[in-house]
Structure formats: C-alpha cells, structure tokens
Point group: C2
Chain length 385, copies 2
C-alpha cells in the first residue's frame, strides 16, 4: 500500500454517499432520523452494564409490539432469516414432523430450512396469495398430528395475511408447538401473540419497525420456553442456540457472542418512536392509509392481487396491468424520483408490484407523491389511465 | 398504550445516552468518528445498484486486509461466531474428520460447532496460552489424516498467536482444507492468507477493523471455492449457506437475505480509514505500541502470560499479580475513568487481564492515559509498585 506505487484509497473509492431513496418496497423501509442518530452513538462493550440494561429495555418494548405479556422476548444477531432458522433449529428436531402452511415464498424457505435440519416436512399447499380457512387449518393438523406447525402471518411475497387462531388451537389440541413468521407484520399491524396463542414468533427490524436491517426480534411463549428447557439434545446451530442466547440476554448475561451494539441502539430508538406514537395509533394509521392507497389504486383502474378480506395493510400487491413490463416501471421509478418498489417473484414474477406503505411513509403527503410518480411511470410504459 | 391510563414511553425509558467508554478490551474496540457518520447515512435497498456496488468495494478492500489476491471475499450477516459457524457448516460435512488445534476458548467453540454439525472431531490439546510447533502440527495432521483442519490464528482468550504455514502445508499434503479463525487478527496484524495458504478464514468487524460488531468478513481460496462448488449436499444451515451468499453478493445478486445495509456502510468506511493509513503502517503502529505497552507493564513489575515469541501485538494478556482481585480492578476502571478491559475465563479466570491496544487507541497519548489509570486501579486494590 505504498503511496508512490499504487493509487491511494481515496482515488480508488469514492466517499460513501448513498442516494436518497423513497423505500416503498416490502423492506427495508424508511427510517426515522432519530434512529439514524441512535446508530451513530458511541458503542460500549457487549457485557457493559449499560448494554445489558439496554437489552432489557428492548425486550420490554418488544412485548407491546408482539402483543405479549408472559414468556420471553429476545433478539437474534442476524436478519429475519436468522430468526426463522433459529426457530427451526431450536424447535424442529431432526426426525420431527413439521406441518407447513405453504402459500408463498417464505413458507418455502421455512420448508427448506426444516428439511436441512432433518425434519419430516408435510405441506398444505395453496396458490401464492391464497389463505387457509379455519376448517382447512384444523383438518390438516388433525390429520397430520405434527410435532410443530409453521405458518407465515404476513406473506411478503404475496401480500396475503393468514389468521393464526384456528391453526394455534388445532396445533395445541394435537400437542404441537406453533411457529409464526411475523417478519412483515411486527410493528406494522397487530401480531396478537397472546390472543392468537402463538408459541414462537420471529421478525425483522427493517419492515414494520422502521429500523435498518440486521436483527431479528423473537417472542417465545411460556410453553415454548418449557419445551426448550426440557430439550435434551443440542440444536445443530450454536450461533442460533436460543438457550444460550436467552441466558446471555436475560438470565446470567454470560458471554455468548458479541452483540451488534449499534444495531441494538437503533432498535431501541425505533421501538421508542413507535411507543411514543402509540402502537395502536400506528396500526390504525397504517390501516387508514392502506384504505386510501387501495382507493386510489382502483381509481387508476388497477387491481389488487389479494381479496380485501386478507390483505396485509402495510404491503400491497398490485396486479401489473397487461402489456406493461413491471421491471421497466420499477427502473423508471428508481432512476427518476428515487422510489424503490419491488416486483413479484416465483409464480408472481412479472405479475405484481409489491408496494410497502408503512412507518414514516404512511402519510397523505407521501402517498400522494408516490401515486403521482407511479401513475407517471405506468403511463410512460404504455398504460393508459 | 393510551396516554391517560399508562405512563408514556418517555417516562419509562430514558433517552439513549451511552456512557463514553475507552474500549481497551479484546473487542469491541474504539471506532473512528467517520465510521459512526457512515452508520447514520440513509439506507438503500439490499438489491439497489448502489448497494451492490458498495458490497463489491467492501470485498475488494477486504483483500488487502486478508493479504489475498485470488479466491473470494464475502461478508456474513452475523458476528464473528456466525463466520465460524458458516465455515464449519459449509466445509465440515457430517461424518467428516475435523482436526482441531485446541489451545483456548475459541478452538473449543470450533469443536462444539463441528460436533453439533455431526463431524468426527479429533483434538490436539495444549494449555491455554501455548502454541504448536511446526513439527507438532505436521505430525498431528500426518497421523490423523483429517478432511478439514481448524486452528485459531490469534486466540482472544489467551493472547497467543499461532503461525499457520506448517499447519497449511501438512494439511494440503493430506488433501485437507484449512479453516483459520482470524477474528482477532484481521486489520490488526498480517493475516497473510495467500502466503500461509489458508483455505477458509473468517473474522469480525469489532476488533482489528475498528468498526462496531455485526458482520463477519470471510476469505475463501480458489481451492475452497472449487470444493464448495463440487459439494453435492446442502449445508445444514440455509442462512449461512456460502454458495447462496456468494451468489447474492458476487455473482447473480439474486436475493438471499436482506443484508444489514448500515453495517455494510460502516465496514466500508472502516476499511477506507485503514486503507488511507496504509495497512502496513497500521500493523507497524500496532507492533510499536505493543512493544511500548509491554515495556511499561514490565516496568510496573507485571508479567505477560504468553512468551514474547508468540504474542498477539493487539491483545495483551497480563498476569494478575498475586493478592489482587482482577474483577475489582476492572470494575474500578469501568466506573471511574470509563475504561473497559477484560478478565480471563475458563482456566485463565482470575489469572489474566486481557488488554487490547488497537486502532484509534494505539497512540502514545492513549497508552499513557491507560497505563496511569491501570496503575492507579492496581494500587487501590492492594498492589504495591
């Protein structure tokens, strides 16, 4: 690295200067300036009393977001997928029967993780965007008698919301634990962990919580905690071993790994921003602007992919009108006004736009801005309104 | 969360205001202000062209730190332990023989992860702080004929540095791959990936790279990449599947998981700060202040745990003088001037202080400040100098 023989780092690498984006995709979404400030606070050690206290605050604040009184909350030092893998590695033992409600990409990922973990996976498959009725859910579980059941509360790949009460009731009748993927729901809409009677829920930071990605909050019911304590084998993953992580974060504070301090600062601040608004006010704001969004979208002659009864209020899947190339619309939005939205993938590739309206973006002003730009981009790509 | 019936979040949770710490422990260590600024830049999406380009910059900058020309660098979205688990999950197949040089806590962790992954682990054990000679290393590998060999380059729990050339040469003669734990060495001292002929190295961000914790940089030799491509079974971990992560980060940029955008910003900036100093200048600075530190420590009548020939220049293990309670000294330092150092654990509990001198702290002024406070705390706890 001598300065004479080689170009300097300053010549080779531009200063970090990310473009301003309006993150109207499924996540990551917009972050409150207070959260960015928290991210830049000086770090302390992962065993520092200040950090230990801060982790407790985070766990406490998460309870309101999950809709949760008893049991334990904790945070995995990885993204939402790490929370999914932690759920599978800790609660789906090799050889165990795992029943998955499969109606989108993330239930496929759950399936894949469980298979890699040696589980016997049985699936109830539906088309991407459909949901399971109470009777269907109960019948499947009664028939299969699984040890663990998995479903996706808010399926990011389709925009469909799956109610969990019938699933949880049937699972508990069968003596099974229930894992719920709440990656897209937490912070954006009610998870109702206790009322639904979920046992294990995992989420992420970069969607409904309006925080940058990097951590995975989890909630565990007393039943899940008992099951975990009684488990006699070690999960295949050490990094995601929830007994060890719970011991570090909540019980003895004995070193397990070096927690991502700055990300915890950000998560605490994001949860405080939410608590100050009032989480129910936030949910109601999301519902209100979801209705506004759908009205405006339908006024443009466009259609939603999911029936009104099962829509995720924060993540809208809008059908791509025929003759329009969704990739070109997205590129135009990104390169013009700097708006990010997502396309569909798997069976929905080219068929839907995935448009997130959550957190700081769920205001009338922001939505009007988005809708005007979206309309412009659609028109430019040949859609006549 | 109604404002009338419950205390508000502002009343229950104090604003985030972490204390100023001088992080003289083994990590996390001090962070350059530029890195904090980078952390607070607005995020973009994980598939945004800006982010994809930025990931390439990070991979390029990591090559210099690793001492690496060919092969691939990538970054795991988890801490150093996630990098360790990724190395094991991808390269140590269930049933494979894994030979571990065991002389400290992190080789024990490597052992535990490999056992959970179904490997047949054989260990060459030495006391914590000792190292393996070239002849010992070769004999062990020739005798065991393992499929994979693991060793810890800079053992954070003991302060001992293990040279890797003889290990790698013997392993390659036996047709084995070599995994090197470079968690404490990367950025602080030469890893010399190519010259040592390592196949798989993993590290963290919060030690030699002077960045907050949260990511695990990895380097893979062409031989390791070939082995990975030829592997016909899936690793048990999906989150840490290096084929999928390499595809997302380097090849197709197809979605795998949502990368922790802000942490990547921070890592890029930390690597730029290092590149601007010149990595060899940085290593030399660390060596110089290590010599200074040892001289001053010995002038205080204290002794180092590891022989001079095998010390990690950035992480010093100083023997706790008899009659002194190391916990009380550490508490005094933390609660007084806000200095964090670490104690020993396992067989070294109560026997050593672990004192990191790296990054922004490796200056004469900072060291003089530390040594004066350390002396004061030791005296207050009954040590007579």
């Amino acid at each position: 690295m001598s300065a004479i023989s080689q170009p300097s780092a300053r010549e080779l690498f531009a200063p970090l200067n990310p473009p301003q984006r309006y993150l109207f995709g499924p996540g990551p979404t917009m972050v409150d300036p207070r959260v960015y400030q928290a991210l830049s606070k000086p770090i302390v050690g992962h065993l520092d009393p200040y950090f230990i206290d801060m982790m407790q605050d985070v766990q406490e604040l998460l309870k309101t977001a999950f809709g949760f009184k008893s049991g334990s909350t904790l945070v995995i030092s990885g993204t939402g997928s790490a929370g999914m893998e932690a759920s599978v590695a800790n609660f789906v033992e090799p050889g165990a029967k795992f029943a998955v409600f499969a109606n989108g990409y993330f239930s496929d990922r759950l399936t894949e993780m469980a298979r890699r973990n040696g589980a016997n996976v049985v699936r109830f498959e539906k088309a991407w965007g459909e949901t399971f009725s109470d009777a269907e859910a109960s019948d499947f579980i009664r028939r299969e008698k699984p040890a663990v059941v998995g479903y996706v509360h808010a399926e990011t790949s389709t925009g469909a919301l799956q109610e969990g009460q019938a699933i949880c009731a049937a699972a508990h009748d069968a003596g099974a634990l229930v894992i719920a993927d709440c990656v897209t729901s937490l912070g954006g809409l009610p998870v109702e962990f206790d009322r639904t009677a979920i046992d294990i829920a995992y989420s992420c930071t970069q969607k409904g919580l309006s925080c940058p990605p990097g951590l995975s909050p989890m909630a565990l019911s007393p039943r899940a905690m008992d099951w975990l304590r009684a488990r006699t084998t070690s999960p295949r993953s050490w990094y995601l071993d929830l007994k060890l992580i719970h011991d570090y974060s909540t019980v003895s504070h004995r070193y397990h790994h070096t927690a991502p301090i700055s990300m915890f600062y950000a998560l605490r601040e994001a949860l405080l921003v939410i608590a100050e608004e009032g989480i129910e006010n936030r949910w109601e704001r999301h519902r209100r602007f979801h209705r506004f969004f759908v009205r405006e979208i339908e006024a443009m002659g466009l259609h939603m992919h999911v029936p009104a009864s099962h829509r995720i209020p924060t993540l809208n899947t809008v059908l791509v009108p025929s003759g329009v190339d969704d990739g070109k619309v997205r590129k135009r939005l990104l390169e013009g006004p700097g708006i990010e939205i997502a396309g569909g993938f798997g069976p929905l590739a080219g068929k839907v736009f995935r448009i997130g309206v959550m957190g700081p973006l769920a205001t009338e002003e922001n939505l009007k801005f988005f809708l005007a730009e979206f309309k412009k981009a659609l028109k430019a790509e040949g859609y006549s309104i």
